[in-house]
Protein backbone atom coordinates (compact mmCIF):
# COMPACT_ATOMS: atom_id res chain seq x y z
CA UNK A 1 0.00 0.00 0.00
CA UNK A 2 2.87 2.34 0.87
CA UNK A 3 4.36 1.93 -2.60
CA UNK A 4 0.98 2.54 -4.27
CA UNK A 5 0.50 5.73 -2.24
CA UNK A 6 4.00 6.92 -3.10
CA UNK A 7 3.30 6.36 -6.80
CA UNK A 8 -0.01 8.19 -6.56
CA UNK A 9 1.63 11.16 -4.83
CA UNK A 10 4.38 11.18 -7.48
CA UNK A 11 1.83 11.24 -10.31
CA UNK A 12 -0.38 13.78 -8.58
CA UNK A 13 2.33 16.33 -7.88
CA UNK A 14 3.30 16.28 -11.54
CA UNK A 15 -0.22 17.19 -12.64
CA UNK A 16 -1.00 20.84 -13.35
CA UNK A 17 -4.33 20.46 -11.58
CA UNK A 18 -2.58 19.79 -8.26
CA UNK A 19 -0.88 23.20 -8.34
CA UNK A 20 -3.65 25.06 -10.13
CA UNK A 21 -6.37 24.08 -7.62
CA UNK A 22 -5.04 26.09 -4.63
CA UNK A 23 -4.58 29.09 -6.94
CA UNK A 24 -8.18 28.81 -8.19
CA UNK A 25 -9.40 28.44 -4.61
CA UNK A 26 -7.52 31.57 -3.49
CA UNK A 27 -8.90 33.57 -6.42
CA UNK A 28 -12.49 32.48 -5.75
CA UNK A 29 -12.20 33.22 -2.04
CA UNK A 30 -10.62 36.60 -2.72
CA UNK A 31 -13.41 37.38 -5.20
CA UNK A 32 -16.08 36.72 -2.59
CA UNK A 33 -14.12 38.57 0.09
CA UNK A 34 -14.13 41.71 -2.10
CA UNK A 35 -17.93 41.65 -2.24
CA UNK A 36 -18.21 41.50 1.57
CA UNK A 37 -16.53 44.88 2.00
CA UNK A 38 -18.99 47.09 3.85
CA UNK A 39 -21.35 44.21 4.73
CA UNK A 40 -23.07 44.01 8.14
CA UNK A 41 -21.03 42.58 11.01
CA UNK A 42 -23.21 39.47 11.29
CA UNK A 43 -22.74 38.78 7.57
CA UNK A 44 -19.02 39.33 7.83
CA UNK A 45 -18.87 36.82 10.68
CA UNK A 46 -20.70 34.30 8.54
CA UNK A 47 -18.36 34.81 5.58
CA UNK A 48 -15.28 34.50 7.74
CA UNK A 49 -16.48 31.37 9.53
CA UNK A 50 -17.24 29.79 6.13
CA UNK A 51 -13.80 30.77 4.79
CA UNK A 52 -15.32 33.22 2.28
CA UNK A 53 -17.12 30.35 0.56
CA UNK A 54 -13.81 28.44 0.36
CA UNK A 55 -15.23 25.23 1.79
CA UNK A 56 -17.94 25.05 -0.88
CA UNK A 57 -15.55 25.83 -3.74
CA UNK A 58 -13.16 23.31 -2.29
CA UNK A 59 -15.82 20.58 -2.41
CA UNK A 60 -16.38 21.19 -6.14
CA UNK A 61 -12.64 21.15 -6.82
CA UNK A 62 -12.16 17.95 -4.83
CA UNK A 63 -14.99 16.28 -6.78
CA UNK A 64 -13.24 17.17 -10.05
CA UNK A 65 -9.87 15.92 -8.80
CA UNK A 66 -11.28 12.71 -7.28
CA UNK A 67 -13.21 11.78 -10.42
CA UNK A 68 -10.34 12.42 -12.81
CA UNK A 69 -7.88 10.64 -10.51
CA UNK A 70 -9.81 7.36 -10.94
CA UNK A 71 -11.00 7.64 -14.54
CA UNK A 72 -7.65 8.74 -15.98
CA UNK A 73 -6.24 5.24 -15.44
CA UNK A 74 -8.90 3.80 -17.77
CA UNK A 75 -8.70 6.73 -20.17
CA UNK A 76 -4.92 6.42 -20.62
CA UNK A 77 -4.91 2.61 -20.41
CA UNK A 78 -2.46 2.81 -17.51
CA UNK A 79 -4.67 0.60 -15.35
CA UNK A 80 -3.15 -2.47 -17.07
CA UNK A 81 0.32 -1.44 -15.97
CA UNK A 82 -0.84 -0.62 -12.44
CA UNK A 83 -2.76 -3.89 -12.10
CA UNK A 84 0.35 -5.94 -12.89
CA UNK A 85 2.32 -4.07 -10.25
CA UNK A 86 0.04 -4.90 -7.32
CA UNK A 87 -1.36 -8.14 -5.95
CA UNK A 88 -4.83 -6.72 -5.34
CA UNK A 89 -6.33 -4.09 -7.60
CA UNK A 90 -8.40 -2.57 -4.77
CA UNK A 91 -5.18 -1.25 -3.20
CA UNK A 92 -4.87 1.17 -6.15
CA UNK A 93 -8.38 2.44 -5.47
CA UNK A 94 -7.81 2.84 -1.74
CA UNK A 95 -4.41 4.47 -2.39
CA UNK A 96 -6.08 7.06 -4.60
CA UNK A 97 -8.81 7.63 -2.01
CA UNK A 98 -6.25 8.27 0.72
CA UNK A 99 -4.38 10.65 -1.58
CA UNK A 100 -7.48 12.72 -2.33
CA UNK A 101 -8.45 12.77 1.37
CA UNK A 102 -4.96 14.03 2.19
CA UNK A 103 -5.23 16.67 -0.51
CA UNK A 104 -8.60 17.72 0.88
CA UNK A 105 -6.98 18.22 4.31
CA UNK A 106 -4.25 20.28 2.66
CA UNK A 107 -6.77 22.47 0.81
CA UNK A 108 -8.74 23.05 4.01
CA UNK A 109 -5.48 24.23 5.56
CA UNK A 110 -4.97 26.58 2.61
CA UNK A 111 -8.56 27.85 2.95
CA UNK A 112 -8.01 28.66 6.65
CA UNK A 113 -4.70 30.40 5.95
CA UNK A 114 -6.18 32.44 3.12
CA UNK A 115 -9.13 33.40 5.33
CA UNK A 116 -6.68 34.64 7.97
CA UNK A 117 -4.93 36.73 5.34
CA UNK A 118 -8.11 38.05 3.71
CA UNK A 119 -9.53 39.07 7.06
CA UNK A 120 -6.58 41.32 7.71
CA UNK A 121 -7.55 43.40 4.69
CA UNK A 122 -11.32 42.94 4.30
CA UNK A 123 -12.63 42.16 7.78
CA UNK A 124 -10.22 44.32 9.70
CA UNK A 125 -12.90 45.54 12.11
CA UNK A 126 -13.65 42.08 13.45
CA UNK A 127 -11.58 40.38 16.13
CA UNK A 128 -10.93 36.66 16.05
CA UNK A 129 -12.10 36.51 19.65
CA UNK A 130 -15.59 37.81 18.77
CA UNK A 131 -18.20 35.37 19.98
CA UNK A 132 -20.17 33.74 17.20
CA UNK A 133 -22.16 30.45 17.14
CA UNK A 134 -22.20 28.11 20.17
CA UNK A 135 -20.63 30.92 22.24
CA UNK A 136 -17.37 30.16 20.53
CA UNK A 137 -14.93 32.62 19.03
CA UNK A 138 -14.94 33.39 15.31
CA UNK A 139 -11.66 31.52 14.90
CA UNK A 140 -13.06 28.46 16.67
CA UNK A 141 -16.09 28.57 14.36
CA UNK A 142 -13.84 28.72 11.29
CA UNK A 143 -11.77 25.75 12.45
CA UNK A 144 -14.86 23.74 13.45
CA UNK A 145 -16.44 24.41 10.07
CA UNK A 146 -13.24 23.29 8.34
CA UNK A 147 -13.18 20.08 10.38
CA UNK A 148 -16.86 19.34 9.69
CA UNK A 149 -16.42 20.04 5.98
CA UNK A 150 -13.39 17.74 5.89
CA UNK A 151 -15.36 15.06 7.67
CA UNK A 152 -18.30 15.44 5.28
CA UNK A 153 -15.82 15.24 2.42
CA UNK A 154 -14.91 11.69 3.43
CA UNK A 155 -18.38 10.57 2.27
CA UNK A 156 -18.56 12.87 -0.75
CA UNK A 157 -15.16 11.69 -2.04
CA UNK A 158 -16.26 8.09 -1.44
CA UNK A 159 -19.41 8.70 -3.53
CA UNK A 160 -17.42 10.36 -6.32
CA UNK A 161 -14.93 7.47 -6.32
CA UNK A 162 -17.79 4.98 -6.57
CA UNK A 163 -19.29 6.89 -9.53
CA UNK A 164 -15.89 7.23 -11.18
CA UNK A 165 -15.16 3.51 -10.85
CA UNK A 166 -18.26 2.83 -12.96
CA UNK A 167 -17.26 5.30 -15.64
CA UNK A 168 -14.47 5.56 -18.22
CA UNK A 169 -14.94 9.30 -18.51
CA UNK A 170 -14.59 11.70 -15.58
CA UNK A 171 -17.29 14.09 -16.84
CA UNK A 172 -20.19 11.86 -15.80
CA UNK A 173 -18.75 11.26 -12.32
CA UNK A 174 -18.09 15.00 -11.87
CA UNK A 175 -21.57 16.00 -13.03
CA UNK A 176 -23.37 13.43 -10.85
CA UNK A 177 -21.04 14.12 -7.91
CA UNK A 178 -21.65 17.88 -8.00
CA UNK A 179 -25.38 17.31 -8.57
CA UNK A 180 -25.60 14.94 -5.60
CA UNK A 181 -23.59 17.26 -3.43
CA UNK A 182 -25.66 20.39 -4.07
CA UNK A 183 -29.08 18.91 -4.69
CA UNK A 184 -28.75 15.94 -2.34
CA UNK A 185 -29.96 17.94 0.65
CA UNK A 186 -33.08 18.98 -1.26
CA UNK A 187 -33.70 15.41 -2.39
CA UNK A 188 -33.34 14.16 1.17
CA UNK A 189 -35.78 16.75 2.55
CA UNK A 190 -38.25 15.85 -0.17
CA UNK A 191 -37.93 12.13 0.61
CA UNK A 192 -38.41 12.66 4.33
CA UNK A 193 -41.48 14.86 3.78
CA UNK A 194 -43.04 12.62 1.14
CA UNK A 195 -42.63 9.26 2.89
CA UNK A 196 -43.36 10.11 6.52
CA UNK A 197 -44.30 6.54 7.53
CA UNK A 198 -40.85 5.44 6.35
CA UNK A 199 -39.09 8.18 8.30
CA UNK A 200 -37.23 5.85 10.73
CA UNK A 201 -35.57 4.23 7.72
CA UNK A 202 -35.46 7.15 5.30
CA UNK A 203 -33.63 9.45 7.72
CA UNK A 204 -30.55 7.28 7.21
CA UNK A 205 -30.40 7.99 3.47
CA UNK A 206 -26.92 9.19 2.41
CA UNK A 207 -28.11 12.61 1.23
CA UNK A 208 -29.38 13.38 4.73
CA UNK A 209 -25.79 13.13 5.96
CA UNK A 210 -24.88 16.19 3.86
CA UNK A 211 -26.68 18.28 6.51
CA UNK A 212 -23.93 17.60 9.07
CA UNK A 213 -22.34 21.03 8.73
CA UNK A 214 -25.68 22.88 8.55
CA UNK A 215 -27.02 21.13 11.62
CA UNK A 216 -23.94 22.23 13.53
CA UNK A 217 -24.60 25.84 12.49
CA UNK A 218 -28.35 25.50 13.06
CA UNK A 219 -29.30 22.95 15.77
CA UNK A 220 -33.03 23.24 14.95
CA UNK A 221 -32.33 21.12 11.83
CA UNK A 222 -32.44 18.04 14.06
CA UNK A 223 -36.15 18.51 14.70
CA UNK A 224 -37.21 20.07 11.41
CA UNK A 225 -35.04 18.52 8.75
CA UNK A 226 -32.72 15.60 9.45
CA UNK A 227 -34.38 13.89 12.43
CA UNK A 228 -30.87 12.77 13.44
CA UNK A 229 -28.50 14.13 16.07
CA UNK A 230 -25.05 15.47 15.13
CA UNK A 231 -23.53 12.26 16.47
CA UNK A 232 -25.90 10.12 14.40
CA UNK A 233 -25.13 12.17 11.29
CA UNK A 234 -21.39 11.69 11.95
CA UNK A 235 -21.70 7.94 12.31
CA UNK A 236 -24.05 7.68 9.31
CA UNK A 237 -21.64 9.71 7.21
CA UNK A 238 -18.76 7.42 8.08
CA UNK A 239 -20.76 4.23 7.45
CA UNK A 240 -21.90 5.51 4.04
CA UNK A 241 -18.32 6.54 3.22
CA UNK A 242 -17.11 3.01 4.03
CA UNK A 243 -19.95 1.56 1.96
CA UNK A 244 -19.17 3.77 -1.07
CA UNK A 245 -15.45 3.05 -0.90
CA UNK A 246 -16.05 -0.70 -0.42
CA UNK A 247 -18.46 -1.00 -3.36
CA UNK A 248 -16.30 1.32 -5.47
CA UNK A 249 -13.20 -0.75 -4.78
CA UNK A 250 -15.08 -3.93 -5.71
CA UNK A 251 -16.30 -2.45 -9.01
CA UNK A 252 -12.83 -1.03 -9.71
CA UNK A 253 -11.25 -4.47 -9.09
CA UNK A 254 -13.71 -6.32 -11.30
CA UNK A 255 -13.80 -3.93 -14.23
CA UNK A 256 -12.69 -5.48 -17.50
CA UNK A 257 -9.36 -4.05 -18.63
Amino acid sequence: MGQVLQQEIFKFRHQQLAWLTPAILVLLMAGLAMTTHGAATSDQKFYISSAYGGFQWLTILIIVIGASCVTMEFEYGTIKQLATQVNHRWTIFVGKYVLVLGYSVLLHGVAILVTLLLKTSVGRGLHWQYIYLYHQSLLANLVTNALLDMYGGVMIIGLVFLLASCSRNSAAAIAIGIGACFMGEGVSSLLLQSFKPLLPLMKWNPFNMFFLQEEYANPSYQQNVTHLTIQQLSVGSLVWALFFVGVGAMIFSRRRI
Binding site: Q7, F10, K11, H14, Q15, Q16, M72, Y76, G77, T78, I79, K80, Q81, L82, A83, T84, Q85, V86, N87, H88, R89, S253, R256, I257
Partner: protein
Amino acid sequence: MQRVQEKMVRVVGLRQTFGHRIVLRDVNFEFSAGKIVGLVGPNGAGKTTVMKALLGLLPTDAGNVRILGQPVSVNTHSVVTQQVGALIERPAIYPFLSGWQQLQLMTTSEKQITWVVQVLQMDAYIHRAAKRYSLGMKQKLGIAMALVNRPRLVILDEPMNGLDPQSVKRLRHLIVQMAGKGTTFLISSHILSELEKIVDTVILIDQGEVLLQRTMTQLRESARQSLVVQTTENAWALRVLLQADYPVTQRVRNLIVTKPVALTPLLRTLLDAHIQILKINQYQEDLETVLLRLLTERKV
Protein backbone atom coordinates in the same frame (compact mmCIF):
# COMPACT_ATOMS: atom_id res chain seq x y z
CA MET B 1 22.87 -36.41 -17.73
CA GLN B 2 20.40 -34.24 -19.68
CA ARG B 3 19.75 -30.81 -18.18
CA VAL B 4 16.07 -30.26 -17.45
CA GLN B 5 15.05 -26.79 -18.68
CA GLU B 6 12.95 -24.69 -16.31
CA LYS B 7 9.38 -24.16 -17.53
CA MET B 8 8.79 -20.44 -17.71
CA VAL B 9 5.14 -20.54 -18.77
CA ARG B 10 2.60 -23.34 -18.62
CA VAL B 11 -0.99 -22.79 -19.76
CA VAL B 12 -3.48 -25.63 -19.39
CA GLY B 13 -7.08 -25.75 -20.63
CA LEU B 14 -7.63 -22.01 -20.70
CA ARG B 15 -11.19 -21.08 -21.61
CA GLN B 16 -12.76 -17.66 -21.82
CA THR B 17 -16.08 -16.30 -23.03
CA PHE B 18 -17.27 -12.72 -23.33
CA GLY B 19 -21.06 -12.97 -23.24
CA HIS B 20 -21.96 -15.61 -25.82
CA ARG B 21 -18.69 -15.20 -27.70
CA ILE B 22 -16.05 -17.85 -27.07
CA VAL B 23 -12.70 -16.09 -27.04
CA LEU B 24 -10.40 -18.89 -25.87
CA ARG B 25 -11.12 -22.60 -26.35
CA ASP B 26 -9.05 -24.96 -24.30
CA VAL B 27 -5.74 -23.19 -24.86
CA ASN B 28 -2.66 -25.25 -23.94
CA PHE B 29 0.99 -24.37 -24.40
CA GLU B 30 4.23 -24.14 -22.51
CA PHE B 31 7.74 -22.90 -23.06
CA SER B 32 11.06 -22.86 -21.27
CA ALA B 33 13.16 -20.06 -19.85
CA GLY B 34 15.47 -18.15 -22.18
CA LYS B 35 13.31 -18.71 -25.28
CA ILE B 36 11.87 -16.14 -27.65
CA VAL B 37 8.35 -17.26 -28.41
CA GLY B 38 6.20 -15.74 -31.14
CA LEU B 39 2.44 -15.68 -30.63
CA VAL B 40 0.90 -15.27 -34.05
CA GLY B 41 -2.55 -15.34 -35.52
CA PRO B 42 -5.06 -13.18 -37.38
CA ASN B 43 -6.87 -10.20 -35.84
CA GLY B 44 -9.27 -11.30 -33.13
CA ALA B 45 -7.59 -14.70 -32.79
CA GLY B 46 -7.19 -14.26 -29.03
CA LYS B 47 -3.51 -13.26 -28.77
CA THR B 48 -4.05 -10.26 -26.50
CA THR B 49 -6.57 -12.19 -24.39
CA VAL B 50 -3.96 -14.93 -23.82
CA MET B 51 -1.40 -12.30 -22.85
CA LYS B 52 -3.82 -10.64 -20.45
CA ALA B 53 -4.57 -14.01 -18.86
CA LEU B 54 -0.82 -14.56 -18.43
CA LEU B 55 -0.59 -11.25 -16.58
CA GLY B 56 -3.56 -11.98 -14.32
CA LEU B 57 -5.51 -9.09 -15.83
CA LEU B 58 -8.44 -11.23 -16.91
CA PRO B 59 -10.61 -13.65 -14.97
CA THR B 60 -10.86 -16.86 -16.99
CA ASP B 61 -13.75 -19.36 -17.09
CA ALA B 62 -11.54 -22.43 -16.81
CA GLY B 63 -7.96 -23.61 -16.96
CA ASN B 64 -4.84 -22.44 -15.24
CA VAL B 65 -1.75 -20.37 -15.90
CA ARG B 66 1.59 -20.87 -14.22
CA ILE B 67 4.69 -18.74 -14.51
CA LEU B 68 7.85 -20.24 -13.02
CA GLY B 69 5.59 -22.83 -11.41
CA GLN B 70 3.55 -20.22 -9.54
CA PRO B 71 -0.17 -19.82 -10.24
CA VAL B 72 -1.42 -16.68 -11.95
CA SER B 73 -4.95 -15.34 -11.66
CA VAL B 74 -6.63 -11.97 -11.07
CA ASN B 75 -6.26 -12.43 -7.31
CA THR B 76 -2.94 -14.27 -7.20
CA HIS B 77 -0.15 -12.94 -9.34
CA SER B 78 2.80 -12.08 -7.14
CA VAL B 79 5.06 -13.77 -9.70
CA VAL B 80 3.83 -11.26 -12.30
CA THR B 81 4.55 -8.26 -10.06
CA GLN B 82 8.07 -9.53 -9.39
CA GLN B 83 9.22 -11.33 -12.54
CA VAL B 84 7.24 -10.07 -15.53
CA GLY B 85 7.39 -6.93 -17.66
CA ALA B 86 4.75 -6.26 -20.28
CA LEU B 87 3.49 -4.02 -23.04
CA ILE B 88 -0.14 -4.85 -23.79
CA GLU B 89 -2.16 -3.25 -26.61
CA ARG B 90 -0.97 0.38 -26.44
CA PRO B 91 1.73 1.87 -24.21
CA ALA B 92 0.38 2.80 -20.77
CA ILE B 93 1.55 6.40 -20.55
CA TYR B 94 0.51 9.42 -18.49
CA PRO B 95 0.67 12.39 -20.89
CA PHE B 96 1.58 14.83 -18.12
CA LEU B 97 4.73 12.91 -17.12
CA SER B 98 8.01 12.82 -19.00
CA GLY B 99 9.43 9.52 -20.23
CA TRP B 100 11.98 9.56 -17.43
CA GLN B 101 9.24 10.09 -14.82
CA GLN B 102 7.21 7.20 -16.26
CA LEU B 103 10.25 4.99 -15.81
CA GLN B 104 10.67 6.29 -12.27
CA LEU B 105 7.22 4.87 -11.57
CA MET B 106 8.54 1.44 -12.60
CA THR B 107 11.82 1.39 -10.69
CA THR B 108 13.83 3.35 -8.15
CA SER B 109 17.11 2.36 -9.81
CA GLU B 110 18.50 5.25 -11.84
CA LYS B 111 21.12 2.89 -13.24
CA GLN B 112 18.43 0.69 -14.77
CA ILE B 113 16.61 3.70 -16.21
CA THR B 114 19.82 5.04 -17.75
CA TRP B 115 20.55 1.62 -19.24
CA VAL B 116 17.15 1.22 -20.91
CA VAL B 117 17.13 4.83 -22.18
CA GLN B 118 20.55 4.37 -23.75
CA VAL B 119 19.90 0.95 -25.20
CA LEU B 120 16.69 2.13 -26.88
CA GLN B 121 18.31 5.47 -27.84
CA MET B 122 15.70 7.65 -26.16
CA ASP B 123 18.14 10.19 -24.70
CA ALA B 124 17.03 13.03 -26.99
CA TYR B 125 13.46 13.20 -25.71
CA ILE B 126 13.29 11.24 -22.46
CA HIS B 127 12.87 14.39 -20.33
CA ARG B 128 10.13 15.78 -22.59
CA ALA B 129 6.44 15.48 -21.54
CA ALA B 130 4.98 12.30 -23.06
CA LYS B 131 2.05 14.22 -24.57
CA ARG B 132 4.55 15.59 -27.12
CA TYR B 133 5.78 12.12 -28.15
CA SER B 134 5.17 10.63 -31.58
CA LEU B 135 3.60 7.17 -31.93
CA GLY B 136 7.03 5.56 -32.29
CA MET B 137 8.43 7.41 -29.25
CA LYS B 138 5.46 6.25 -27.16
CA GLN B 139 5.95 2.69 -28.36
CA LYS B 140 9.63 2.78 -27.41
CA LEU B 141 8.73 4.14 -23.98
CA GLY B 142 6.19 1.32 -23.54
CA ILE B 143 8.91 -1.22 -24.40
CA ALA B 144 11.36 0.53 -22.07
CA MET B 145 8.81 0.27 -19.24
CA ALA B 146 8.50 -3.47 -19.87
CA LEU B 147 12.27 -3.97 -19.84
CA VAL B 148 13.51 -1.51 -17.22
CA ASN B 149 13.30 -3.91 -14.27
CA ARG B 150 15.09 -6.63 -16.27
CA PRO B 151 12.26 -9.10 -15.63
CA ARG B 152 12.67 -12.83 -16.27
CA LEU B 153 9.65 -12.88 -18.60
CA VAL B 154 8.82 -10.08 -21.02
CA ILE B 155 5.44 -10.03 -22.76
CA LEU B 156 5.26 -7.71 -25.76
CA ASP B 157 2.06 -7.21 -27.74
CA GLU B 158 2.87 -5.93 -31.24
CA PRO B 159 6.11 -4.21 -30.14
CA MET B 160 7.14 -3.19 -33.68
CA ASN B 161 4.01 -1.00 -34.12
CA GLY B 162 5.01 2.51 -35.18
CA LEU B 163 8.75 1.89 -34.98
CA ASP B 164 11.07 2.98 -37.80
CA PRO B 165 13.25 0.30 -39.47
CA GLN B 166 16.35 1.30 -37.48
CA SER B 167 14.50 1.04 -34.19
CA VAL B 168 13.03 -2.33 -35.20
CA LYS B 169 16.54 -3.60 -35.93
CA ARG B 170 17.84 -2.25 -32.63
CA LEU B 171 14.94 -3.82 -30.73
CA ARG B 172 15.53 -7.17 -32.45
CA HIS B 173 19.16 -7.04 -31.44
CA LEU B 174 18.26 -6.15 -27.84
CA ILE B 175 15.73 -8.97 -27.55
CA VAL B 176 18.23 -11.54 -28.84
CA GLN B 177 20.89 -10.15 -26.51
CA MET B 178 18.62 -10.30 -23.45
CA ALA B 179 17.37 -13.77 -24.35
CA GLY B 180 21.02 -14.87 -24.53
CA LYS B 181 21.34 -13.79 -20.90
CA GLY B 182 18.28 -15.79 -19.85
CA THR B 183 15.30 -13.44 -20.32
CA THR B 184 12.28 -15.14 -21.86
CA PHE B 185 10.16 -13.27 -24.40
CA LEU B 186 6.60 -13.84 -25.56
CA ILE B 187 5.98 -11.58 -28.53
CA SER B 188 2.92 -11.16 -30.67
CA SER B 189 3.36 -9.46 -34.02
CA HIS B 190 1.69 -9.10 -37.36
CA ILE B 191 5.04 -8.45 -39.01
CA LEU B 192 5.94 -12.12 -39.35
CA SER B 193 9.03 -11.38 -41.41
CA GLU B 194 10.43 -9.49 -38.40
CA LEU B 195 9.38 -12.15 -35.93
CA GLU B 196 10.92 -14.88 -38.07
CA LYS B 197 14.36 -13.36 -37.55
CA ILE B 198 14.37 -13.73 -33.78
CA VAL B 199 11.91 -16.34 -32.48
CA ASP B 200 12.84 -19.86 -31.40
CA THR B 201 9.27 -21.10 -31.20
CA VAL B 202 6.00 -20.13 -32.84
CA ILE B 203 2.56 -20.57 -31.31
CA LEU B 204 -0.17 -20.20 -33.93
CA ILE B 205 -3.55 -19.22 -32.58
CA ASP B 206 -6.82 -18.78 -34.45
CA GLN B 207 -10.39 -18.35 -33.21
CA GLY B 208 -9.19 -18.82 -29.65
CA GLU B 209 -7.53 -22.15 -30.35
CA VAL B 210 -3.85 -23.02 -30.43
CA LEU B 211 -3.37 -24.63 -33.83
CA LEU B 212 0.28 -25.49 -33.45
CA GLN B 213 3.37 -24.90 -31.41
CA ARG B 214 6.57 -25.56 -33.36
CA THR B 215 10.18 -24.58 -33.12
CA MET B 216 11.50 -22.52 -36.02
CA THR B 217 13.61 -25.53 -37.07
CA GLN B 218 10.49 -27.66 -37.32
CA LEU B 219 8.69 -24.94 -39.27
CA ARG B 220 11.58 -24.54 -41.70
CA GLU B 221 11.52 -28.28 -42.28
CA SER B 222 7.80 -28.17 -43.02
CA ALA B 223 8.24 -25.21 -45.41
CA ARG B 224 7.58 -26.28 -48.97
CA GLN B 225 10.44 -26.04 -51.41
CA SER B 226 10.04 -25.62 -55.12
CA LEU B 227 12.24 -25.14 -58.15
CA VAL B 228 11.44 -22.48 -60.74
CA VAL B 229 12.83 -23.24 -64.20
CA GLN B 230 12.61 -21.09 -67.32
CA THR B 231 13.65 -22.52 -70.69
CA THR B 232 13.51 -21.49 -74.35
CA GLU B 233 10.88 -24.21 -74.99
CA ASN B 234 8.74 -24.52 -71.85
CA ALA B 235 6.03 -26.68 -73.46
CA TRP B 236 8.57 -29.24 -74.68
CA ALA B 237 10.47 -29.11 -71.36
CA LEU B 238 7.22 -29.74 -69.47
CA ARG B 239 6.54 -32.91 -71.50
CA VAL B 240 10.12 -34.13 -71.04
CA LEU B 241 10.05 -33.62 -67.27
CA LEU B 242 6.61 -35.20 -66.89
CA GLN B 243 7.80 -38.23 -68.85
CA ALA B 244 10.72 -38.46 -66.41
CA ASP B 245 8.18 -38.47 -63.51
CA TYR B 246 9.02 -35.03 -62.12
CA PRO B 247 6.17 -33.27 -60.25
CA VAL B 248 6.04 -30.25 -62.50
CA THR B 249 3.46 -27.66 -63.58
CA GLN B 250 3.61 -24.69 -65.90
CA ARG B 251 2.80 -21.23 -64.54
CA VAL B 252 2.97 -18.37 -67.04
CA ARG B 253 6.55 -18.48 -68.39
CA ASN B 254 7.91 -20.70 -65.64
CA LEU B 255 7.97 -24.40 -64.91
CA ILE B 256 7.46 -25.15 -61.21
CA VAL B 257 8.85 -28.34 -59.74
CA THR B 258 6.73 -28.63 -56.61
CA LYS B 259 8.86 -31.00 -54.54
CA PRO B 260 12.52 -30.94 -53.56
CA VAL B 261 14.50 -32.87 -56.19
CA ALA B 262 18.15 -33.44 -56.96
CA LEU B 263 19.23 -30.70 -59.34
CA THR B 264 21.88 -32.49 -61.47
CA PRO B 265 19.62 -35.30 -62.84
CA LEU B 266 16.89 -32.75 -63.62
CA LEU B 267 19.28 -30.51 -65.52
CA ARG B 268 20.74 -33.53 -67.32
CA THR B 269 17.24 -34.59 -68.45
CA LEU B 270 16.62 -31.15 -69.95
CA LEU B 271 20.05 -30.86 -71.54
CA ASP B 272 19.78 -34.36 -73.03
CA ALA B 273 16.57 -33.20 -74.74
CA HIS B 274 18.56 -30.24 -76.17
CA ILE B 275 16.52 -27.69 -74.20
CA GLN B 276 18.27 -24.45 -73.37
CA ILE B 277 17.86 -23.34 -69.74
CA LEU B 278 17.40 -19.56 -69.26
CA LYS B 279 16.90 -19.34 -65.51
CA ILE B 280 16.71 -21.62 -62.49
CA ASN B 281 15.72 -20.56 -58.94
CA GLN B 282 15.15 -22.43 -55.74
CA TYR B 283 12.28 -21.11 -53.64
CA GLN B 284 11.40 -21.90 -50.03
CA GLU B 285 8.25 -20.75 -48.21
CA ASP B 286 8.86 -18.13 -45.54
CA LEU B 287 7.20 -18.18 -42.11
CA GLU B 288 4.32 -16.03 -43.29
CA THR B 289 3.50 -18.33 -46.21
CA VAL B 290 3.81 -21.48 -44.10
CA LEU B 291 1.50 -20.10 -41.42
CA LEU B 292 -1.02 -18.76 -43.91
CA ARG B 293 -1.00 -22.15 -45.66
CA LEU B 294 -1.56 -23.92 -42.36
CA LEU B 295 -4.44 -21.57 -41.54
CA THR B 296 -6.01 -22.11 -44.98
CA GLU B 297 -5.56 -25.90 -44.80
CA ARG B 298 -7.31 -25.89 -41.43
CA LYS B 299 -10.24 -23.88 -42.76
CA VAL B 300 -10.60 -26.25 -45.75
